[in-house]
Structures are given as C-alpha cells and as structure tokens.
Amino acid sequence: MRNFFSQFRRHALLLGDYFAQYTKVRVSYRGDFFVALFTSLSGTVFQFFFYWFLLKRVDFPHWRKEELFFLWGFALIPFGVFNVLSLNLYEFGSIYIMEGKFDRVLLRPLSSLFQVLFESFRIESLHEVVTGLVILIWASRHLGYHWTLLDVALLAFFGLCGGVIYISVFLFLTTFSFWFEDRIGLHPPFWNLLAFGRYPLSIYSSYIRFLLSWIIPFGFATFYPSVRLLGRPEFRSYAALVPLVAAASFAVAAFSWRIGLRRYSSTGS
C-alpha cells in the first residue's frame, strides 16, 4: 500500500514534467498551435450558434432556456478535460501498436497507461473548459443562481469526474487495439454519442436513457451533475453516483488495459 502511494506520488510529479515536455514540443511549432487553437475555437463557436438557433425554434418542456445553456456550458467542461487528454487514444492502435512505439513505453520504469495518456496533450482544448465556464456563469446569473463554496467545489469535482468517465469509455475502446489491428479504431460512433449529453436526458426514450446511464455512462458526465447543480427536482439522487460511476468506468478500462497488456507481451503485435 505504501509502495502504491509512493508510486502514485512519483507519477503525479512526473505528470507536470510530461506536460511541460509536450508544451515545449507544441511551442516549437507555433504556427501549428495557433491554427489548431483557431480550428478548435471556431468549432465551439459553431456549436454554440447551432445550439442557440435550436433553442430559438424548439421548446424543451419544463426547461428554461438558461437552464439548457447551463447544461451545455457544463457539458463543455468534462468534454474539454477529455479532449486535452485523449489525443493518444485515437492513435494508439496505429502509432503505438502497429508502428512499435509501445515497446519503448514498456522499457521505461513508469506505468504504461500513464505514458500513453500523458505523452501528448491537445492543449488547445483547454479553451473548451474556459468557454464552458463563461457560459455557465452567464446562464447562472440569468437564473439568479447563487454560487456557494460547496457549489464551486462540486462543479470542479463533477467536471473532473465527467472527464474521467469520457476518458474511461474511450480508453476501453482503445484497449481493443491490443487484439485487433485497425487504424481507424472504434471511437468515431461513440464520439458522436457525446453530443447526446448536451441535451436533457429526459427528452430521450427510456432505451436511450438507459443506454446513456448504465451502458455508456455519458449521462453521469453531464446531465446528472447539471441537474444537481441547477437544483432541479428530477434525478436528484443520481448525482451522488457520479464519482462511483467514474471510478467504476475507469476500473473497467484499466482492467481491460491490463489484459491487453498481457496479450501484447505474449504476442508482441
């Protein structure tokens, strides 16, 4: 147990070093960074306008527009966290497994999962977190929402848990690369599912609600925490499950990683 904590501490300290290292890489291609930031920003802006027009035309029963913007703003926070960290997951199959970069990962005295997650960052996606916060604050002012210290702490905690849930789902999909050689990966259809989290789960059929809560738990990343923060009556108690769902998702993904790792070291491909 003590060993576990010292390892955890070591990795936590190195996380800073890895981030700094990757930042240096990005800074060395400044033009590329600004283009990426611009692209990412305009993506968010388009999304915003789409949402705005949608809310102008469509009524969501029992939901005020500001509440919907609150939900949308909140959803951007875990989404941003996820985007910052998920860069390598998409390329894991092709770069790490097929091109052999994973051998080098195994030769370093660090957790292999740590290295794959933190060897590159989509730094520009941090703007999504900022944009999300701005919209959240704007919406909560219109709602007359008073932020207590507890609310702020909860917001940060939920945002982080949401990020963990997203990462876990995609990490789980990534682990299939240990078994199947494919360059595209299983991610794209699930990526599209992320959009569902920007709307109240209650508008969907019960099947989709079940799917997004208990199979691919994106609902716990965005909808249930937002409901709790907004103080709305429905699904109130679900928010308490958020950290559990996050921990369970990560456990499943990490377990699958472990098994994949074992397969890799017996087949080497």
Binding site: V25, S28, R108, G268
Partner: protein, 354 residues
C-alpha cells in the same frame, strides 16, 4: 565462471501463433472469419549465461530470433517457456523495477523526443530515472568527452544526422548508469566515423563502469572490435556460443594472398605462373583471380598449403611490388554456419528438456 552470472537464460522458448493472410479484399474478408494458424518457433530452447562486464555479440540472419530474445530479456515479451534471470529480476514479472537497471537502444528507433532539443529529452529522462543532478552532470561530462555531444545538444532530434542521433540515444540509454546494456543493431546505417565513435564509447563504458553489454549486429566488424564472445542463432536455435578466436581457429578454411605486380611487363611471366599453379600438388585447394591489370589474388586452403611456400613460389615467378595476406572474412565463416556447417566447440548447448 566463479561468481554467479548476471544474466542467466534456461531453456528459453518463444512460440508465436501466426496465420496465413489471404490476399485481396475477398481474402481479407475470409481472414476475418477463418484463419489457418501455424506455430512459429521464434526462439527454441536457448541457454546461456553472461557474467558481469562481458561484451557479447549476438548474431544471426534476419528473422533468426535475435530481436525476440532481446525483447524477452528486456521484459517486453513473456517467454512461452523457460526462465530468465537478469540482474536479480525476472524481467517480465518485475518490469517497472527491472527496466530501471537496464539500458536499451534499438538502432532503428529513437527513444528521444523528436521535435525538441536533445537536452530536453535528457532532462526528462533524468527525472524519469530519478538521477541526481550531480550524477547527471558527471555522466554528461563523460559522454560528451567520448561522443562529443555538446555541438548538437540544443538541436531538435529531427534535425540530427543518423550518427548524431545514435550517439544521443546511447547517452540517453546510459544516463541512469544501468549495469546492463542491450543494443539492437547500434551501428546500422552509420558511416565509418560514426561507427568508430559508437564502438569507442562502448569500450569506455564497459571499462569504466563494468557495464555488461549484449549487442546484436549485422556488422561483424562491431563484433571483432568489441566482443570476445559471440553467440550465433539461426531459426530460433543457438548454433554457437563461445570465443570468437576459437571459432575462427576451427572454421577458418582459406586464406588469401593479394599481390601487386611491379609493372605491366610481368604479364607473360604471370601467365606461365598461372599454368604452373594448375599442376600444384593440392589441386583444387587454390585458385588465382585477377582483380585488375596488376593486382592478383590467390585464395588457398590454409590446411593444405603453407603461405610461406606460396609466397616463395610467387616471388620466384614474378616481380612483386606489394603483398597482403588475409584470413577468410568472418562473414564467410558465419555464412557457412548458417548454411549448416557445424561450428563445433564453444560452450556445448545443453539439450536439457524439463
């Protein structure tokens, strides 16, 4: 060996299950559902021990099992059967602790961060391996002396020449001063000067830190210059393990004498000499080749013909400006072993099956 070996490998085997790929789109579809598996014995019942401070050359043709062995020794691959103890660890079982005590260089692949200055990679590796700033500075100093890194420490890795990059990769693998160093083709693609740099460096490291080095290579000059001991593997099986000198002594079949004629006027005398050679007692044990107008080479069986005799005859027949006597190149010997000649000697390969 008096002390316990640093690396010990017993009955090591690695089998892969592969399947035949069918070609084309239709074949690809069939592949999804039906596969004909076959077992590939990449490494089969290999045994050896390496003592601390040894430099061992590990050679074999492509696909012989060298890389698979290295991958098992470094903890990347789990053996199908057999045992590995290396520096007190079972590599794949205690990976994270074990890899702290080894350095690994894959000649074809860099472990440095591609887009930023070399020094940044070293700094991060220092943190990853928990090397103190003092040790780091001292080692960088030494590495710089032998490898002359200073000139390009602040150059991004992608802008380095292959030779410079390899020097950096070596330094990176040794920053934490590991007792064991594994090198997979460390001189591949390098020019003569760069190769020499690398070899000198390995000698220094081996002498100064008693670093144990196992290297695979296709360049037998690496082996001749660095390793007293070689292991030869082919089709997964160890064919030879022993001193290079002994191997040469046993298997060296031919020598060659190269000589340069004094002038063009020697031509008729040379023709006469060539005729007389045909009548030489050990017929077929010798042949003369003309390399150019003035240069000739005689390749002869060293057991049947003494080089002194031969030289005397040459001198009696033609006027010669220069001589060169050489052993059969080690490549030729190795080629014959791959082709099935019994290398004999060495450390007998125990056939102990559990």
């Amino acid at each position: 060996m008096s002390s316990a070996p640093l690396i010990s490998v017993k009955n090591l085997s690695k089998h892969f299950r592969t399947f035949k790929r069918r070609e084309g789109i239709l074949g690809g579809l069939v592949n999804l559902f039906h596969r004909d598996y076959q077992t590939l014995k990449a490494v089969e019942n290999v045994n050896f021990e390496i003592a601390q401070g040894e430099m061992v050359g590990y050679i074999g043709p492509n696909g012989a099992g060298k890389s698979t062995t290295i991958k098992m020794l470094t903890g990347i691959l789990v053996p199908t059967s057999g045992e590995i103890f290396s520096n007190g660890f079972v590599p794949f079982r205690q990976r994270a602790d074990y890899v702290k005590t080894i350095g690994v260089v894959f000649g074809q692949r860099t472990q440095l961060w591609w887009d930023i200055a070399v020094i940044e990679s070293f700094k991060l590796l220092r943190r990853i391996y928990d090397v103190s700033q003092r040790d780091f500075d001292a080692r960088m100093e030494l590495f710089d002396q032998v490898l002359a890194l200073r000139d390009f420490l602040h150059t991004p890795v992608r802008k380095l020449s292959l030779g410079q990059r390899m020097r950096c990769d070596l330094a990176a693998a040794l920053l934490h001063n590991p007792p064991i160093l594994f090198l997979d083709e460390p001189t591949i693609g390098l020019d003569v000067v760069a190769k020499d740099h690398i070899r000198q460096f390995l000698k220094v490291i081996n002498a100064q830190y008693k670093t144990t080095i196992l290297l695979t290579t296709h360049d037998l000059d690496d082996i001749e210059e660095l390793c007293r001991r070689i292991m030869i593997i082919d089709r997964g099986t160890l064919l030879f393990d022993g001193p290079l000198a002994g191997l040469k002594e046993r298997l060296l079949r031919t020598k060659q004498i190269k000589f340069i004629l004094r002038d063009g006027e020697q031509a008729p005398r040379l023709a006469a000499f060539e005729k007389s050679l045909a009548a030489y007692p050990a017929n077929g044990a010798l042949r003369l080749e003309r390399l150019d107008e003035l240069t000739c080479r005689i390749i002869f069986d060293r057991k049947l013909i003494s080089s002194a005799d031969l030289i005397r005859q040459i001198l009696a027949a033609v006027e010669v400006r220069d001589f060169l006597i050489e052993d059969e190149p080690i490549e030729e010997i190795i080629k014959r072993i791959y082709a099935g000649e019994d290398p004999g000697g060495g450390i007998p390969v125990p056939a102990a099956q559990p």
